[in-house]
């Protein structure tokens, strides 16, 4: 069984701490600068660097990182950088990794937005390219939805819950409220399952 997440790394000297923070900043800066496809695409690269190259993390810690990105709300890249940083060089390390992830986005996007501020270009080639990508994104999202629902929908009840939430969204209910509404539903279902399990155990006795 898994114990709690470990935060502080084993005792290291101040010099080693600064060195590790520097490496963290540099690595995450490089990952955010070159990896296209968001946080999910970054995870394998992070594993490659810190598990295989530096050997600062072990397999279990990589697994913990993935679990944390699924459990704590927020972007995958941010969660991953915070956990890896904390595990390798404590608080300073995680802040270094986080800043490393954020700076390339700020740099790249601000310069694109500064030099090409017009989001409705007149060039028909660019417009057609954009609309092609939008169509492609529609298709990719459909695949994501397909994989997610294969994982989550096990019965008619699950399908009905998702359908009701979707209808609420389509009826222009503020999306934040829909997410908040889904939480007690899940909690209720878990409680029901737990009760069933207890009941079964009693029967066996």
């Amino acid at each position: 069984m898994r114990k709690s997440f470990k935060t502080t790394p084993e005792k290291i000297t101040k010099k080693e701490l600064l060195f590790r923070s520097g490496v963290l900043f540099y690595t995450f800066f490089k990952i955010a600068l070159f990896v296209v496809g968001g946080g999910l695409a970054m995870l394998p690269v992070i594993e490659d660097v810190f598990l295989r190259k530096h050997k600062w993390l072990n397999k279990k810690e990589i697994l913990d990182m993935v679990i944390l990105t699924q459990t704590v709300p927020g972007l995958i890249a941010v969660n991953a950088s915070l956990y890896v940083g904390a595990r390798i060089a404590g608080f300073i390390g995680s802040i270094a990794a986080l800043i490393g992830v954020m700076i390339p986005s700020l740099m790249i996007i601000c310069s694109i937005a500064y030099f090409f501020p017009d989001l409705n270009p007149n060039n028909s080639y660019i417009l057609n390219g954009f609309s092609g990508i939008r169509s492609a994104v529609t298709g990719v999202f459909a695949v994501t939805a397909w994989h997610l629902s294969k994982e989550i929908v096990h019965s008619v009840r699950d399908g009905v819950i998702i359908l009701i939430l979707l209808i609420l969204l389509l009826a222009n209910v503020y999306p934040l409220y829909v997410i908040v509404l889904s939480m007690p539903i899940g909690f209720f279902l878990i409680l029901k399952k737990q009760k069933k399990l207890l009941f079964k155990e009693k029967k066996h006795e």
Partner: protein, 199 residues
């Protein structure tokens, strides 16, 4: 739109983004296209596309872009910090205070519920994106209902054949060929340009 407003909006969003950023699209759409119309639908679609194809965390790119168009560098910082700071706080709580977070009944309940919401949100994002690509305009539900029941006209609402072909191709190549996101998007752009030249 003030920097403080941007910070607050993105901070609010980041607290409910369980399991990644794709859930943010409907939230952004409601806030920045419908409630405070600072972007047209087309401009917003292009913004989302650009933040997908630039390197880095996708939602962070989107936040930076929205912030920059509203308040320059300060706005970009405010928006991206808003998206990040709640996560810093929460993940430190998760790493240090809460033991075996994912085993507690409360957290299990929230995560189970939010997964349902996740599927609903991404389905809604598909509908939104389809309104900007596969269909000529956002799906008009009320008029669609009238059309089915009474055969009323659907002025302006139709299917774009070229975009539909690209969306289907992308769907099957992501499902069967397991191409990466960036490969699919580059070929989407090329197909978009080429097919529009022909048809």
């Amino acid at each position: 739109m003030s920097s403080l407003f941007l910070f607050w909006q993105f901070a609010k969003f980041s607290v409910v983004l369980f399991g990644g950023g794709y859930m943010i699209i409907p939230l952004l759409m409601t806030t920045f296209v419908e409630e405070n119309p600072v972007f047209s639908l087309d401009a917003f679609g292009n913004l989302l596309v650009l933040s997908q194809i630039t390197p880095g965390a996708v939602s962070l790119n989107t936040a930076t872009w929205i912030g920059f168009t509203q308040r320059g560098i300060i706005g970009a910082l405010a928006a991206s910090l808003g998206l990040v700071l709640p996560t810093v706080f929460l993940s430190f709580c998760a790493i240090t205070v809460l033991d075996r977070l994912e085993k507690t009944l409360f957290m299990q309940g929230i995560l189970k519920g939010v997964r349902y919401a996740g599927v609903a949100m991404i389905s809604y994002a598909i509908v939104l994106f389809a309104g900007m690509s596969v269909f000529t305009q956002p799906v008009p539900w009320k008029r669609l209902f009238d059309f089915i029941t009474a055969g009323a006209s659907l002025q302006g609402f139709a299917v774009n054949p070229v975009e539909t072909v690209i969306a289907l191709l992308a769907f099957f190549s992501a499902l069967k060929l397991r191409l990466s996101m960036i490969q699919i998007m580059i070929s989407g752009a090329l197909f978009g340009i080429l097919l529009h030249l022909v048809f």
